[in-house]
């Protein structure tokens, strides 16, 4: 899978959100290319990661389900989407 994937995490800020997500990605050989993160309106956590699944273990669907489960565990919403959806919408 050569496509880049965008992982977004939104929700109430808490300790260790990035650690949890990064640990999962490292365990599954998913390479992080870029991370940006902001806190909106006091404690609203908003993170975007660009990752490369070239050597990833497991399928895309498994990753999406696993990250969704991690999100539920720490009380945030984690979603994964192929980068092309944003490219097509925002670039001519």
């Amino acid at each position: 899978m050569k496509h880049k994937t965008i992982i977004t995490v939104v929700g109430k800020d808490t300790v260790g959100i990035i650690a949890k997500v990064c640990t999962y990605l490292a365990e599954h050989d998913i390479n992080i290319l870029d991370i940006s993160q902001t806190i909106v309106a006091g404690d609203y956590f908003n993170m975007m990661m660009v990752v490369d699944r070239a050597n990833a273990k497991g399928s895309y669907g498994e990753m999406a389900d696993d990250l969704d489960a991690i999100g539920k565990e720490i009380g945030v919403v984690i979603r994964c989407q192929r980068e092309e959806i944003f490219d097509s919408m925002h670039r001519i």
Binding site: T8, G61, I85, F86, H90
Partner: protein
């Protein structure tokens, strides 16, 4: 590089504003299934549809997951069955048994609707066309997922008034045949003028005879996205208003184009068109009527409605057309009543009448759609409504349609519940004045003067 702001914008469209791909529809030619033996015809139809669409639902689910964009419906459209069954069907029951085959295969592959129980009779009907039309009440009463459409006129051919008369009777008969379910059969039956060959939306989808063996057509939707964008430019000039609609329509259509291309690649079926429509659902906020209100109307139906809708429809096309390599189908703003909470509210408030809706259909993408009328409306009045709508389509060179539901046993002031995407509707009054003598004339209305372009 995509910015965080852009990612958030896209995800908000999906999560809060109901952006979705409304349907991935696979069009299939059944011309090679024609056989003089009915059983062989049916088995060929079943096998071909199954072979081509076997992976449709699975593929759509996969794309939905990878891109994080909901794909609400998976559907199939086929060559008009009047052409396919003509060689083998001798009775109405024969035709209805093909509808059963379509219904069975739709259930087998897991699509929610299959369109193409259709006849194209814009000038006149063959005996097979007429047999199919007469079988519609039985076909729709004995199937769940089959949709039927009849093309009764075109700018090139004029209006087949014999067909219009027959369809008035057929709609009434379908209502009677499905009266136990609030005449639900009529919600799956539509008549057209200038029907497109590549429409992915139900109930009017069929696979035109000019199309290839199989094709993927995608319908996008996002009235909520347009409305939210317009909320941010409240009070601004028409220039700003129109630019905002165009930009939003562009973004929405790009999603459809991406999904269509990906589905085409994965299923190895050519990409046909993206239908860039604003199609509402009964979900709150997923409403075309709400956009009209945001443009500045108290309710759809108020003076100014036709102008506001014309503007909306045109800007949606202008924005969407550059976003996709092939645009087709119905493309524009749909104004079904029962499927749009804002339209239902307008009817309930007394703002919207069938006559105003008729005016609106001269500038929107389709026609009188999902309108519940009293069950005792006469067949000739229904034919009259159809004839008016066909005339608007014929003269203006646009697609128009009628999907009215005469709800047997119910009258004005009552409400009918269709469920799911079809929604619910207050029953609207129809003019009490008759048109029997007009409808009982035989023959057809000639093609208009501007059809002679050669």
């Amino acid at each position: 590089m995509i910015s965080q702001y852009e990612v958030i914008e896209t995800n908000e469209m999906v999560e809060k504003e109901n952006l979705d791909v409304r349907t991935i529809t696979i069009g299939i030619s059944l011309l090679d299934c024609i056989d003089s033996d009915l059983e062989k015809t049916k088995s060929k139809i079943h096998d071909k549809i199954l072979r081509i669409t076997e992976k449709q639902v699975e593929t759509a689910d996969y794309i939905e997951k990878e891109y994080g964009i909901p794909i609400v419906n998976k559907r199939i459209s086929v060559t008009p069955i009047a052409l396919i069954g003509g060689a083998s069907c001798k009775t109405e029951e024969d035709f209805a048994s093909i509808a059963k085959t379509l219904d069975d295969v739709a259930k087998e592959v897991g699509v929610n609707f299959i369109g193409g129980y259709s006849a194209l009779v814009s000038k006149a009907q063959t005996p097979a066309d007429e047999l199919l039309i007469r079988s519609i009440p039985q076909a729709l009463a004995t199937t769940e997922r089959v949709c039927s459409s009849i093309n009764l006129g075109s700018t090139r051919c004029g209006i087949n008034m014999d067909g219009v008369r027959l369809m008035g009777e057929t709609i009434k008969a379908t209502a009677e045949a499905t009266k136990e379910d609030d005449s639900l059969g009529c919600a799956k039956l539509v008549v057209f003028c200038n029907a497109p060959d590549d429409n992915p939306f139900m109930a009017g989808a069929f696979h035109g005879v000019t199309e290839g063996d199989a094709v993927i057509n995608v319908g996008v939707s996002g009235p909520g996205v347009v409305r939210t964008a317009l909320q941010k430019v409240r009070g601004e000039s028409f220039e700003v208003l129109c630019e905002t609609i165009k930009k939003t329509a562009f973004k929405v259509t790009r999603v459809g184009q991406l999904v269509a291309k990906e589905a085409s690649r994965m299923l190895d079926i050519p990409f046909g068109i993206v239908d860039l429509s604003l199609a509402p659902t009964p979900a709150i906020g997923d409403s075309v009527a709400d956009i009209l209100c945001e443009i500045g109307l108290e309710h759809p139906g108020a003076p100014g409605t036709t102008a506001a809708l014309a503007l909306l429809n045109d800007q949606v096309k202008k924005g969407g057309v550059m976003a996709s390599s092939y645009v087709g189908g119905l493309s524009g703003a749909f104004i079904p009543v029962s499927e749009d909470q804002g339209m239902i509210d307008a009817v309930t408030a007394g703002a919207l009448t069938i006559e105003k809706l008729e005016a609106m259909t001269s500038v929107c993408s389709v026609g009188l759609d999902m309108i519940a009328i009293p069950g005792d409306t006469s067949a000739s009045s229904i034919s009259g409504i159809i004839a008016d709508e066909m005339a608007i389509g014929m003269i203006n060179g646009k697609t128009t349609a009628v999907r009215v539901i005469p709800v047997i046993g119910k009258g004005v002031g009552e409400t009918v519940e269709f469920g799911g995407l079809l929604g619910y509707a207050p029953i609207m009054p129809v003019s009490a004045f008759g048109c029997d003598a007009f409808i009982s004339r035989k023959g057809r209305i000639p093609a208009p003067i501007h059809s002679f372009k050669n």
